[in-house]
């Protein structure tokens, strides 16, 4: 049962965390989403961080650290409250962990105005990437739009010319379709915005079939994506109309849950489990030893965030000198599990994006295999608007 | 003498059931007009149309010559029609005094004031005390309404109706459920009230009806079969057959 795993995991986390809770440990505040449907995202981000810390025996960059973790419940107000608690009560100068853009919107401006540093392991909303950028705000993951721009590039590269795009009717969904169309050079023959809480896509399947596109792009994060892919298969569309997906629709949890309904799909990513570099091999091995569940890219981002912080701590020895810490972070002097990594002008990543194939893994399930590089040293569309 | 209340061909049906069938009724100013009839004859439906809770399908209602058919129930109270309920309907959580005070306040006006203190409106409390005294409920003023006896509740309802200074009082079975002594008290009380207002009385207690009524209308199957003095009604053969039937002749 999962309960046993949970207890083991909790014990492991407790063991990992306890020796570092020393007097001189630097506190890092993690605000993340652990409850509700998106709980696994925050959990993986946190565990990626814990893993990096454990691999250095409770330290990052030679500095003992203590990770404070709290659940924001996906409520912007709660995120803000936790940030205040960290900064005001615990004297935390370095915060991270937020999964969702709306929590970031309510929380990040307050953090950076307080003179603390925020390193995002996931959300990279556009309103903080352009004019709203800040020298104390770093994003390790990606700018939100880049995820979908990669998918658009993939559709172009694969030679498709008629695309059908679907996304939930909310900001991230609109950004997704905008992002896709920004890099897709063919024609978008249909666009559907689904309801935010919609889990049944039968109506959309029928419309896709009627529109006869040669490729489908859809953005349905988490559980929605699982439902979508399965229904795509059940509708008999899988194998008939190819699909190009951006990263959130094909994380490892989604793949495990959809199984063979994901076969043949073209996925895009900035990280995959099979990346052939030293840092990644180390990360994957450590994860598989510690946790009994699939590695998602969220975990890789949590891990990378911790490694980035470690690289900065190695230079500054901690958070006492914020200016020095900021400078050190900006250098991004660490080996990312995704290979090349640098910060752009707005302190968002400049990185490579890849095309993945979903194939059988030989154990009755499926896995993602890296096929080709799509975009090289790719930044984002908002960097130019950032004056820093 | 002109009628205070007139209904003209009031018609109301529920589904297949005709509850009031072209009822034309005139209540003279100053009289006690009793409305009798067997259960299900449509008495309460008629009362509810006069007070405005129900709207007739056809017909008109006039108060003092003025057509009030289209007026709301609340508006009719201000025009002078007050009522009591067959099953007492009070503010059960509030004290007796507060029940009366609210009725007084509703009549005095200023109900939409959001920046005054009701407790400081002396006029309300003076009138409330006067009413409580007149109804003999002043010693129960602080009691919670839900703790009152049935008879006391009936008295309280009457007081609250009186608070509106009605020209016409609709009494829906004021004696229902009362013991013999209580009924007699109620008859005495109504004898007092009739000096101040016209009364349309629905009642099964024939002793009370014949003691109080100046005129009586008999309603059967939604139709008025006769209106007349108590003696006329008592002697009317149709009434005996249709209403009194097998029962003993009244009084």
């Amino acid at each position: 049962m999962e309960l046993r795993k949970f207890l083991l995991g909790a014990a492991a986390v407790g063991l990992l965390a306890s020796p570092v809770a020393a007097e001189d440990a630097v506190k890092i505040g993690v605000i993340t989403t652990l409850s509700g449907k998106a709980g696994y995202l925050g959990q993986d981000i946190r565990d990626g961080m814990l893993l990096a810390i454990a691999m250095e025996d409770g330290k990052l960059g030679g500095v003992p650290v203590e990770l404070l973790v709290e659940d924001d419940g996906l409520k912007p107000g709660n995120g803000r409250q936790i940030a205040e608690k960290y900064m005001g009560d615990e004297g935390v100068k370095l915060l991270t962990g937020i999964v969702f853009s709306n929590v970031a919107g309510a929380t990040v401006p307050d953090i950076v105005e307080n003179g603390a540093i925020y390193v995002s392991p996931n959300a990279g909303p556009s309103n903080l990437a352009g004019e709203g950028c800040n020298e104390n705000y770093f994003v390790v993951s990606w700018q939100n739009d880049a995820l979908h721009e990669a998918a658009g590039a993939a559709a172009t590269k694969l030679g498709f010319s008629k695309a059908f795009a679907l996304a939930p009717n909310y900001q991230a969904g609109k950004d997704a379709i905008t992002g896709f169309k920004r890099t897709f050079e063919g024609e978008t023959v249909g666009e559907i915005y689904t309801q935010l809480d919609q889990t049944d896509f039968a109506a959309e399947m029928a419309q896709i079939r009627a529109a006869e596109p040669d490729v489908v792009f859809q953005f349905q994060p988490g559980g929605l994506g699982i439902a979508f892919l399965r229904q795509y298969q059940q509708a008999g569309l899988l194998g008939q109309i190819p699909m190009v997906l951006s990263e959130p629709s094909t994380d490892a949890v989604v793949l495990q849950a959809v199984g063979d309904a994901a076969l043949g799909i073209h996925a895009t990513a900035h990280w995959n489990i099979d990346f052939d570099n030293e840092a990644n091999r180390e990360f994957v091995a450590a994860w598989q030893e510690t946790y009994d569940r699939p590695i998602t890219y969220y975990a890789s981002q949590g891990y990378d965030t911790a490694r980035l912080i470690a690289s900065a701590f190695a230079q500054t020895g901690g958070v006492d000198d914020i200016d020095a810490l900021r400078e050190a972070l900006r250098k991004a002097d660490f080996a990312s599990v995704r290979g090349d990594f640098a910060f752009g002008q707005n302190q968002h990543p400049v990185q490579d994006w890849y095309l993945l194939d979903i194939v059988e893994d030989g154990n009755g399930s499926v896995k993602a295999v890296t096929n080709a590089k799509l975009l090289e040293d790719y930044g984002d569309s908002y960097a130019a608007q950032c004056e820093m | 003498m002109s009628p205070l209340l007139e209904t003209e061909c009031l018609y109301k049906r529920f589904g297949g059931l005709v509850a009031t069938d072209n009822v034309s009724l005139a209540v003279m100013s100053g009289e006690v007009h009793a409305l009798i009839g067997p259960n299900g004859a449509g008495k309460s439906t008629l009362i509810n149309q006069i007070c405005g809770e129900l709207h007739p399908d056809a017909g008109r209602i006039r108060l003092d010559g003025r057509d009030i058919t289209g007026e709301s129930a609340a508006r009719r109270v201000h025009l002078g029609i007050a009522r009591t309920f067959q099953i007492t309907s009070l503010l059960e959580d509030a004290s007796v005094r507060d029940n009366v005070a609210l009725a007084v306040q509703a009549c005095l006006g200023g109900n939409l004031r959001i920046w005054d203190r009701r407790a400081a409106r002396g006029e309300i409390w003076r009138e409330t005390s006067r009413l409580l005294e007149s109804g003999g409920l002043d010693d129960r003023a602080q009691a919670r309404c839900a703790d009152l006896s049935h008879g006391e509740k009936k008295q309280l309802e009457l007081l609250m109706a009186m608070a509106a200074h009605p020209r016409l009082m609709l009494l829906d079975e004021p004696m229902a459920g009362l013991g013999h002594g209580e009924s007699r008290d109620m008859v005495d009380r109504l004898g007092e009230i009739r000096k101040e207002t016209t009364i349309l009385l629905v009642e099964h207690d024939m002793e009370a009806v014949f003691a109080l009524a100046d005129r009586i209308s008999v309603l059967v199957y939604g139709r008025i079969i006769i209106t007349g003095t108590p003696d006329e009604v008592r002697g009317h053969p149709d009434v005996r057959e249709a209403y009194l039937g097998a029962e003993d002749a009244p009084c």
Partner: protein
């Protein structure tokens, strides 16, 4: 034409799911006067218990009885430990208590099954798609759901119109005090109805498993739509739940499918998509508001 037909089938399938949930909720609502926000949790419990067993045994059919049992047992426990103490209280206490239950169940599921969504394979027989007629493929599993929903509807109709319990249920939903006055052991009736409602919710949850994601919080998602069905149909009316469930399923599906296209005929595509999707997501609420404004008690309210 095929598109319209397909969308109607899709709407029916969504509609019977809503009906399965709403049937129990409307009875609990109508007979006991209890607002049970935790009804969605029973749906989730059925889905998790059944799917877990199905995933470990590899058999869809083995999961079914487990899902039904788990949901019914959870329902009975809720009734006996919590709801029973609240019958005499007002709606607000019931809201607070059942809201607390949602929190409890969600977190318990996280503890037991983890945060990742879990997965059931479709039964072999029903995977893929069948050609209903030339050029019209349709997933047979969805047909199975529709058939199940209709069968349950028939079963409930027989139960309510042909049995003693059904008679009590009917009497109870129109006049609670009367049933009590008859000297019927009302507690027993309440427990049975609650258990039955939970069972149907569990069935709906398990049936939804292979097409949706079985995950924490799946109950709240469908809870609101279920309440909408109950209210439109008329509180306490199974017939209302059936008609409103199917109507809402079809209307909701049709709006999602055809509104943007409709707006595109006279608007810019981007604006049309936006407006269409916006109205479609408000659709069921709009529909409920309109129905209530015309018939304040819903379509088939008992005793109205």
């Amino acid at each position: 034409m095929i598109l319209v037909l397909e969308q109607i089938l899709n709407g029916l399938q969504y509609g019977v799911m809503l009906f399965l949930l709403a049937a129990g909720l409307t009875l609990i609502f109508g007979i006991m006067g209890v607002i049970n926000l935790a009804h969605g949790s029973l749906y989730m419990i059925g889905a998790f218990a059944g799917t877990w067993v199905a995933a470990h045994t590899g058999s869809f059919w083995l999961g079914l009885p487990v899902a039904l049992t788990a949901a019914a047992v959870a329902g009975l426990l809720i009734e006996m430990l919590v709801v029973r103490r609240l019958y005499e209280r007002d709606h607000l206490d019931q809201v607070l208590a059942t809201f607390a239950l949602i929190l409890l169940f969600n977190e318990l599921i996280v503890l037991l099954f983890g945060r990742q969504p879990i997965f059931t394979p479709l039964p072999e027989l029903f995977s893929g798609s069948v050609q209903l007629f030339e050029g019209f493929p349709y997933p047979p599993y969805r047909l199975l759901i529709i058939a199940t929903g209709l069968l349950v509807a028939l079963g409930l109709w027989l139960l309510i119109n042909r049995t003693r319990i059904g008679m009590l249920v009917r009497a109870g939903s129109t006049n609670r005090d009367m049933v009590r006055a008859l000297g019927v052991d009302i507690r027993m009736l309440y427990t049975i109805v609650f258990g039955l409602g939970a069972l149907l919710a569990g069935l709906a949850g398990y049936m939804a498993g292979p097409i949706l994601a079985v995950q924490v919080g799946m109950g709240e998602q469908i809870l609101l739509a279920t309440f909408v069905v109950v209210v439109i149909g008329g509180v306490g009316s199974i017939r209302g739940a059936f008609v409103a469930g199917l109507a809402l399923g079809v209307v909701d599906t049709a709006m999602r499918a055809f509104l943007p296209g409709f707006f595109r005929t006279f608007m810019e595509p981007a604006a049309a998509d936006n407006l269409g999707a916006g109205i479609a997501s408000m659709g069921i609420y709009l529909l409920m508001a309109i129905v209530l404004l015309i018939r304040p008690k819903g379509l088939f309210a008992p005793g109205a």
